[in-house]
């Protein structure tokens, strides 16, 4: 199967803080990879490096066959292939839902307003928010905003989706409506890389789970084996904290 994302010995520091310490990882087409680990282990930084929100210090990151660390990468191309959803939704507060969705397709992909709007309606309908097309983000609940944010990323018809703790800022009763959208998306065959604390989600849809600790991949494997039979000591202690 084709490799969508590959990280090779990636290093990243913030000042004197070593965040990524030689990460090696691979996401294949159609895979759902869930990244877990204690806070500050570099999970989010890793995602942000993949679409160029952070620069890495050493190593190599490939998105399909593009080396995004080569220094002469066209980010507009890469970012169309890689969609990203953030913890704090980051919808544009000054634009209504529809204009949030169609801005990039029109500006970047030069789609007509009609084309973009039609596609947005299909996706909105799929997440059950078609009736909110004219609302402003400030008028929506967190769960609704996050579902819109997912749709917004999908509008670019990306080949990989990155999810950065997308349910962490939500009230508990709103988490499932977002997870359900993600589960549907996984079932439709989307390649996904998901940083999350939702172990239930990981068990349900992940092809592979990666445990990060101190800026390296400490353990990885398919979910059944991973949860049933953890080997790494740090993972054992982490799991005992989050599973009970």
């Amino acid at each position: 199967m084709e490799t969508m994302i590959r990280l090779e010995n990636v290093h990243k520091t913030f000042g004197s803080l070593q965040v990524l310490n030689g990460i090696n990882m691979e996401v294949k087409k159609g895979e759902v990879v869930v990244v877990i680990g204690p806070s500050g282990c570099g999970k989010s930084t890793q995602l942000r490096c993949i679409n160029g929100l952070e620069n890495i210090d050493a190593g190599r990151i490939m998105v399909k066959d593009i080396d995004i660390t080569s220094g002469k990468v066209d980010w507009q191309v890469v970012r169309q292939k890689v969609g990203m959803v953030f913890q704090s939704y980051n919808l544009y507060p000054h634009l209504n839902v529809m204009r949030n969705l169609i801005l990039s397709p029109m500006k970047v992909q030069k789609k007509t307003k009609k084309e973009a709007t039609e596609y947005a309606e299909i996706l909105l309908d799929r997440v059950g928010l078609l009736d909110k097309r004219d609302a402003y983000p400030g008028q929506l609940s967190g769960g609704q905003q996050q579902r819109i944010a997912i749709v917004r990323a999908l509008m670019m018809q990306p080949e990989v989706m990155l999810f950065d703790e997308v349910t962490s800022a939500l009230d508990p009763e709103l988490i499932n409506e977002v997870l359900n959208v993600m589960i549907d998306l996984a079932k439709s065959g989307m390649t996904m890389m998901v940083v999350t604390h939702e172990m239930g989600f990981a068990k349900a849809v992940a092809n592979k789970i990666v445990f990060m600790s101190n800026g390296v991949v400490a353990e990885e494997g398919p979910p059944e084996e991973f949860f049933a039979n953890p080997k790494d000591e740090r993972l054992k202690s982490f799991l005992s904290k989050v599973l009970h």
Partner: protein, 218 residues
């Protein structure tokens, strides 16, 4: 000395001319100052080192020297440097200079108040830097700046009174011109003060309404 209403009634056409000119000048200056402010703010937030330094120096000089002296400078000093403009243009240049200096800081603060995560989200959606500034950062910054812009239109309107000193026929000039020949200082200054207050209060009221509407959308 009583209040001579008839005298004021006679002066109404002249007063209205002054008030009209005060408004026209203020609006022109505000528009130009907004342009200067936006360009300066962009230079300060995303320009190179040199550009930032130059903009910074401009802002400090504009903000830390008296407006009156700046007006004199343009009107009385520029010609000796080979730059001669008539009263009106000189006044507009000087006021745009200090108005723009204030607005650079207003817009810079506005731009910096837009959350970084907005830029990241836009980047992740493959927008280019210029598109991000135009479509995402700027509209949001503008709304953040709006209350300050109200303040500065009023500031500019009030400052336009200084233009009387270089012979521009605005409201304060009208007052001086009339009392130099007719001496009804109390009546004239009361009338002029009232006109200024009506303009200032109307602007702050109107823009207050706009501000409320904007707030709702955010």
């Amino acid at each position: 000395m009583g209040f001579d209403f008839n005298f004021i009634m006679e002066q109404i056409p002249y007063l209205m001319l002054g008030a009209r000119n005060t408004l026209i000048i203020s609006v022109i200056v505000l528009l130009l100052a907004v342009i200067v402010g936006i360009v300066g703010a962009l230079a300060k937030t995303s320009g190179g080192r040199f550009l930032r330094l130059i903009t910074g120096m401009y802002v400090e000089i504009a903000r830390n020297t008296p407006e009156l002296v700046q007006i004199y400078f343009v009107f009385f000093v520029f010609p000796s440097l080979g730059l001669k403009f008539n009263s009106f243009v000189s006044g507009v240049i000087a006021m745009t200079f200090f108005g723009g200096g204030y607005l650079v800081e207003v817009f810079r603060a506005g731009i910096e108040a837009v959350p970084k995560t907005q830029v990241e989200a836009a980047k992740s959606l493959a927008l280019k830097n210029r598109q991000i500034i135009v479509n995402i950062v700027f509209p949001q910054a503008l709304k953040i700046c709006l209350p300050s812009l109200i303040g500065y239109l009023i500031f500019i309107l009030k400052m336009s009174s200084l233009l009387a000193t270089i012979g521009i026929v605005e409201l304060t000039f009208v007052a001086n011109d009339v009392i130099a020949n007719n001496f009804h200082a109390f009546e004239m200054f009361s009338a002029v003060a009232l006109l200024y207050l009506i303009m200032v209060w109307t602007i702050s009221w109107l823009l207050g309404i706009v501000e409320k509407r904007f707030k709702y959308e955010l």
